[in-house]
């Protein structure tokens, strides 16, 4: 209930939980608002479906996990202690059926003796195959937390980068002080805090320096232009070179996001960092310590001071340190009925206006959906106490998680019975305050100042003076108490339903290493990452194995510190954001002609250009092929890589990267080139034109444009830096179109300002031309096998020239052709693509062994290795069907006509296949063992996937115009 006159704001906020309407206040978390409404039961546990209530007041909450929103936008596993309430907020409890109050799966709790650690490893051993089909689906249905909708998130998240001199992680007393010192000194500071209100534990204090002091510091920080405050931002990971990941909740607290993204995943690069993440209070394990109403003492204190909420009418406090006494006094001062303080220590002097049991432990909690009573074990016997809220403090664990992200191992500090960070575990990061084991306010303030001063010194800046407030010297005086011995189940990890017995059992079954125990019991897994349970569990393990705690060690904390939604990490990459789209200059025209697009790498290219009368792609494709063979076709080939290579040593570089020779190429001529990788296999092919004595333009395939550019840079910068050569990509500069077919010259001469003929422009000629007044480049090259050209103009004229070329081609009985026809044309000619040079073929395999000239080149030596020159290798051949089945398919395998189609009998495989309208039959390119010597042989093609079995004749790869007469016409 809310104490009159206390708590945040005044504006009422209306929200619902499991369909029931409640009222909270602006500034409430869902947890504080539910507690103010006296809602104790908020969830069911992971495995046993035990009733659970709010346990903490921060992001370490293991129990109060809820689903926010409905439908596709529903967000599961949201911590009610983090979620801010807003008007119209809808929250739902999880892991219960049919309702939170009446959960049938709570039967699991009765079966607990059979469901201990590792039960499914032992229980579900057989029969074979049942695990995946029966057991796992059953268990997944019975156990678990919230579920995703399975639909795309309707709202956007975003990602961003930030840079600063000093990143301060956490805005409690240490963090505020560090940010103030660095901010006043002129450093670029980012202060990130996971809470929506900065101040950390200062906000949970009943006396100053507390909330007011924090507000004063924040006001100053806000006024400094060099300080950036990032509330609602959890630093989730520490990475190399001062990079930190951070998740900002941008609009999850708003009724109307108004264009804001849900979350932002930040990558913050900081020259220095101060970790001021504070500490988390740890529970004490005792029987039924998971009953709703058993809470952390720090949470009760925070709800009292920050939210004016007391989660019960009869409150008891149970602790092993002086902090418990402070809380009890403050509760009494606030008028709360404190039934008593149970202190496990013997040597305590009772003080304050409440009853104190010393040397006493709470050994059981009663009530099911709400705490009703506790049983104490005093030095003289047991006692039952009627309470509805028990505040527990087992001490504090520094939040040192980030210091472990680069492999740092925390060290045990005996006087505070806790692990503290190893200095220098993350380069450039220093821990300060409670996360460094400094558990008094005075120490937090001075450590924050010292950490900032050290960082400023490292940055070469002079720290400005900052006066720290007087902080009363409080004592901690902890005597460790991990678990209260006794019967029944005592919870260590509330989120994963791991008990003291489970850990003891793991040790008994020889899972004695802390890493093995964690995996066997699932302690510290999942969203929680052991924030509450880690140290308690390993203390219990140490006890069970007879080791010390430092001897037992801790498991490693890995990023993220708290859960990060995949939607935030992958923000911007949904749908087409996955990769950039590349469009040719003719894209709009091609789409206007109704061409369906096919993706080629990042590019979009037209598959075919359907006429109104055509209903099937094959009709269009066949027509386009015939058009090129008989008239003239136009195809945008701008996507091929184009590399401008200049310099006195340009020819020498080409001789090195190409298997064949280019230094002998004459100006104004083009040559086909084959490029090998360093391991001797084929890398890429294409044509290179010599535009001037020291000037070449290389063409690559579309797919290899980037890799070839990278390869050339590598060869030049690393292998032959002495070569005087420059290169740069001009792929984007030129729009280039193939003009192919017997009427290609006729078409071009209608456009060129000076006509060309066979003498001025023979096959493999190139040169500058003028097309409709625009300076252009013309190359007489052919991928189709026809008399053909490629004409290149600056990209700004690409669309206009494409439209003009197509219009003129149509006037000559031709038109535009797409990728399908291009593919058919080249298969008919036996020309290769990356379907053939797929990375495992040699120059010899594709019949180009003799192109490796008598000169040094990349890959030459490796290409002569025995495995690459083996005469039994698969060699490229053509195939035509000769049996009843006429269909040939790429990916099918080849077998001798009489052999069974088994892997052991494989003779090769098909790489490309098409129906050739020119030849009136299906044609394929394939690799076949000793293929070149087997032309004329019959071979069996089997496509096991598609169920095709065809008898073929092995042919030369060139099926059409093998003499090449049409090229030269």
């Amino acid at each position: 209930m809310r104490i009159a006159g206390r708590g945040p704001g005044v504006r009422p906020v209306s929200f619902s939980f499991d369909g029931r309407r409640y009222e909270g206040r602006e500034g409430d978390t869902l947890a504080s608002a539910l507690l103010a409404n006296d809602v104790a039961l908020v969830g069911r546990s992971f495995k046993y479906h035990r009733p659970r209530g709010v346990m903490t007041a921060g992001p370490e909450e293991p129990n109060a996990l809820v689903t926010i929103g409905r439908g596709a936008a529903a967000t599961p596993n949201t911590r009610a202690t983090v979620q801010e309430v807003f008007d119209g907020l809808e929250a739902f409890s999880q892991n219960r059926w049919p309702s939170l109050d009446w959960d049938l799966l709570a039967l699991n709790d009765l079966a607990a003796p059979f469901l201990g650690a590792g039960f499914y490893y032992k229980t579900f051993m057989g029969p074979r195959g049942w695990w995946e089909r029966v057991y796992e689906p059953l268990i997944r249905r019975a156990a678990g937390l919230g579920a995703l909708s399975g639909r795309p998130a309707p709202e956007r998240s975003e990602k961003a980068f930030a840079f600063c001199d000093l990143l301060v992680i956490g805005a409690g007393p240490a963090g505020l002080t560090a940010a103030l010192v660095a901010g006043r000194s002129g450093a670029d500071v980012i202060l990130a805090d996971e809470d929506f209100r900065m101040g950390g534990r200062l906000l949970a204090k009943g006396a100053e320096p507390g909330p007011e002091w924090a507000a004063g510091i924040l006001a100053e920080l806000e006024s400094l232009p060099n300080v950036r405050l990032m509330p609602r931002t959890t630093v989730t990971g520490a990475y190399d070179q001062g990079t930190f990941g951070a998740l900002e909740r941008v609009s999850l607290h708003l009724a109307d996001p108004n264009g804001l993204p849900r979350e932002c995943f930040w990558r913050i690069v900081a020259k220095r960092a101060v970790l001021a993440a504070g500490a988390l209070e740890r529970p004490v394990a005792f029987r039924n310590n998971d009953r709703p109403g058993v809470m952390m003492a720090s949470a009760v204190r925070a709800y009292l001071h920050r939210w004016g909420v007391v989660p019960g009418k009869r409150v008891a406090v149970f602790g092993n340190n002086d902090g418990a006494h402070v809380l009890a006094s403050e509760l009494v001062a606030a008028g709360v009925n404190v039934v008593g303080l149970i202190d496990s220590r013997h040597d305590v002097v009772p003080s304050g206006d409440f009853r104190v049991w010393t040397g006493t432990q709470v050994c059981n909690a009663h009530g099911r959906k709400r705490l009703e009573a506790i049983t104490l074990r005093t030095p003289v016997g047991t006692e039952r106490l009627a309470v509805d809220c028990l505040a527990v403090s087992g001490g504090w664990n520094p939040s040192l998680h980030l210091t472990c992200h680069l492999g740092g191992r925390p060290e045990w500090q005996r006087d505070i019975a806790a692990f503290v960070p190893t200095p220098g575990a993350v380069p450039g990061l220093r821990a300060a305050g409670a996360c460094n084991g400094a558990f008094t306010l005075g120490a937090c303030l001075s450590e924050g100042r010292a950490a900032a001063e050290e960082a400023l010194g490292a940055l070469g800046m002079t720290p400005k003076a900052v006066d720290l407030p007087e902080a009363p010297e409080a004592q901690y005086n902890i005597t460790p108490l991990w678990s209260v011995p006794g019967k029944g189940r005592a919870w260590l990890d509330f989120q994963n339903d791991v008990t003291v017995k489970d850990v003891a059992q793991a040790a008994q079954e020889n899972f004695r290493s802390v890493e093995h125990m964690k995996r066997y019991t699932t302690q510290g897994m999942a969203p929680d990452q052991g924030k509450n349970s880690n140290v308690n569990a390993l203390a219990v393990l140490a006890d069970a194995t007879g080791q010390t705690i430092p001897g037992t060690g801790t498991t490693t904390f890995r990023p993220p510190y708290s859960p990060v939604s995949i939607a935030a990490m992958g923000a911007g990459a949904e749908g087409k954001g996955f990769a950039p789209e590349r469009f040719t200059t003719s894209h709009r025209a091609a789409v206007g002609m109704g061409a369906p697009m096919i993706e080629a790498g990042l590019w979009y290219r037209p598959s075919y250009f359907p006429l109104r009368s055509e209903t099937h792609w094959r009709q269009s494709c066949d027509r386009e092929v015939q058009m090129v063979r008989e008239a003239v076709g136009i195809c945008d080939v701008s996507t091929l890589g184009k590399i401008d290579i200049q310099g006195p040593d340009a020819a020498a570089l080409l001789d090195l990267v190409y298997a064949n020779r280019f230094s002998t190429l004459k100006e104004g001529r083009v040559r086909y080139g084959l490029m090998l990788r360093e391991d001797g296999f084929v890398m890429d092919d294409g044509t290179t034109a010599r535009l001037g004595p020291e000037h070449f333009v290389m063409t690559t395939t579309t797919a290899a444009a980037g890799p070839v550019m990278r390869h050339l840079e590598f060869v030049h910068q690393v292998l032959r830096p002495e070569l005087d050569v420059s290169m740069i990509s001009v792929t984007e500069q030129w729009a280039q179109f193939a003009v192919a077919g017997p009427k290609s010259r006729e078409l071009l001469n209608g456009l060129l300002d000076a006509p060309v003929d066979n003498d001025s422009f023979p096959f493999m000629a190139c040169g500058d031309v003028s097309v409709m007044g625009v300076a252009a480049r013309l190359f007489r090259i052919s991928f189709s096998g026809e008399h053909a050209y490629e004409i290149a103009v600056p990209a700004r004229f690409g669309e206009a020239l494409f439209r003009e070329l197509v219009a003129r081609a149509e006037g000559l009985g031709g038109g535009a052709y797409g990728m399908e026809a291009l593919n058919v044309l080249r298969i008919e000619k036996g020309h290769i693509t990356h379907a053939e040079i797929h990375g495992r073929t040699t120059a010899g395999d594709i019949g180009m062994g003799r192109m490796i000239a008598a000169k040094d080149c990349i890959g030459r030596v490796a290409a002569s290795r025995p495995g690459l020159t083996d005469p039994d290798r698969e060699q490229m051949v053509g195939l035509r069907p000769v049996g009843d089945v006429k269909q040939l398919t790429a990916g099918a395998h080849l077998f001798d006509a009489g052999a069974a189609p088994l892997r052991e009998n494989a003779q090769g495989y098909v790489t490309s296949a098409c129906f050739s309208p020119t030849l009136g039959e299906t044609r394929a390119l394939a690799f076949l063992k000793r293929g070149r010597a087997r032309h004329g042989e019959h071979i069996r093609m089997v496509d096991h996937l598609r169920g095709i079995d065809a008898l073929c004749e092995v042919t030369d790869p060139v099926a059409f115009d093998p003499e090449g007469g049409r090229l030269r016409g």
């Binding site: 975003e158 950039p580 984007e732 700004r796 004229f797």
Partner: protein, 183 residues
């Protein structure tokens, strides 16, 4: 004979104006990449100074006069923006016409840095990335050249073929930044 009509890389995509932010297409004369011959860096610098009044830029820097800009463009390259290059430069450098290869976008207005922070992994704080500073980097997944041209203005050069994606990504980020300011 009819004329070939030139089209702009970002035609139909810009201008984009959201709150105080604007994304427009720059219209430069020529873009020419320069790469010095071996050992000719000094001579090229002198020739550039004489012909265009521009010094050879250090890595991640650019030089500028009225109507001309020379920006570092990666290993051993700089991009001359504006004038047709003087022919004398060819003696010292490889010159390549890039006038049609790049879409040139100007991102300007209060919050331009915040827009870039959503897409570019480069520290663009004014204290670190001053007017005239330049970087080759990524914008989303696309390679770009990024130069600060004023207190609140940046020149973004991207592949012509990726103009649509670039504008789309910038527009999304501009919306995000505007929403934050409005909030």
């Amino acid at each position: 004979m009819a004329e070939l009509i030139a089209s702009r890389p970002a035609a139909g995509l810009v201008p984009v104006r959201i709150a105080d932010l604007s994304l427009t297409e720059e219209s430069f004369g020529a873009l020419t990449s320069l790469s010095p011959r071996r050992g000719a860096e000094g001579a090229l610098g002198a020739a550039l100074q004489q012909a265009h009044g521009l010094g050879w830029p250090a890595p991640n820097r650019s030089t500028q006069t009225d109507g001309a800009r020379l920006i570092w463009f990666g290993h051993a390259h700089a991009l001359l923006i504006g004038p047709e290059p003087a022919q004398g430069l060819r003696e010292h450098a490889a010159l390549t016409d890039q006038s049609d290869a790049w879409v040139a976008l100007r991102l300007a207005g209060d919050g331009a840095e915040d827009v870039l922070a959503r897409l570019v992994p480069v520290d663009t704080r004014a204290s670190q990335f001053e007017t005239g500073h330049t970087a080759r980097s990524l914008l989303g997944h696309a390679h770009v050249s990024l130069t600060r041209t004023g207190d609140d203005a940046f020149l973004i050069l991207g592949f012509r073929s990726m103009a649509k994606t670039l504008v789309h990504e910038l527009e999304l980020a501009m919306n995000s930044v505007a929403a934050r300011k409005g909030g």
